[in-house]
Amino acid sequence: MNIEPGLYHLLFVSTTLFFIGVYGFLTRRNLITMLMSIELILNSVNINFIAFNKYLWANRLDGVMFTVFVIAIAAAEAAVAIAIIINLYRSHLSIDVEKAEEMKY
């Protein structure tokens, strides 16, 4: 393994960030912090796209395009999620997923 940072280093960073997000999503029970974990996961995916585009397929721009679309969809998703969270807080006075159990039925 070379000391000079390359593709493998970036893949390590993105994998670590992805599983940090997964850990947060599994352990947190507050909707806002779960949303933050999802943002971390999406960012790790973006790092992967950009790293593959730079180090493997430098003749194409597909990784950049996918990153732009992922960022746009993440913004829309965060806006809708926060609207739902605020609506849930109005009706339940809490954004804990344990206290919103009747949404299952």
């Binding site: 850990y23 971390l40 950009i50 003749n59 732009v68 926060i82």
Partner: protein
């Protein structure tokens, strides 16, 4: 180990360290600020890779938009000074085990695989090239996803308004107006009577 490597390792450490704080701290506001610095670190990694446009989009959309939105929703929904409840130890251990297994599996797969690099001439990642490919209609173009994403953003905009709108605001509002009108109706005849009585008394005296 030159300066570029040192910058990369610093950015990676900042990204991962702040990410760990963001998912593990019990103070939700501190978690949001750590998430902000983690996203700034990711933008720095994009800058380090010479993808300036993506780094700028990352800062504008994530740091300037999503994190500010998250902080506002924290202000709206959390009592200040409240800490998040401590999670069960079993859940934490299970999550750590699952995450460690997945991480080890993925890292082993990645480092065993040898990626083959393309030999074609690299294309410059300029804003001009990105914009031209974004609206191109040929085989490599992204005009259709561009339009679909614009429709998605419109749908999300309308959906946010519909979801966050209060569903029954008219009922209490109308009652208040009716009460005010009744109060005015009640007050006015009393004043008239008082005036008339005063005039009558004045007339008799």
């Amino acid at each position: 180990m030159n300066g570029s490597s040192i910058i990369f390792y610093l950015l990676a450490a900042m990204t991962i360290g702040c990410g760990v704080i963001a998912v593990s701290t019990r103070q939700i506001f501190r978690a949001a600020i750590s998430l902000l610095f983690s996203l700034v670190g990711v933008a720095g990694i994009y800058f380090w890779m010479d993808y300036q446009f993506i780094a700028a989009v990352q800062i504008v959309v994530y740091v300037g938009g999503i994190v500010v939105l998250i902080i506002f929703s924290i202000f709206l929904t959390q009592q200040s000074g409240d800490k998040l409840p401590i999670q069960k130890l079993g859940r934490k251990l299970f999550a750590l085990l699952a995450v460690f297994c997945g991480f080890a599996l993925t890292i082993v797969q990645v480092f065993q695989h040898t990626f083959t690099k393309t030999t074609a001439a690299p294309v410059g990642v300029t804003v001009r090239n990105i914009g031209e490919e974004l609206i191109a209609l040929d085989k490599n173009g992204y005009a259709l996803p561009f339009e679909v994403v614009s429709m998605l953003l419109l749908a999300a905009l309308i959906g946010c308004i519909v979801i966050a709108m209060r569903t029954t605001p008219e009922q209490p509002h109308e009652e208040k107006e009716i009460k005010r009108r009744e109060e005015i109706k009640v007050i006015i005849p009393k004043e008239d009577k008082v005036l008339i009585i005063q005039e009558e008394t004045g007339g008799t005296e």
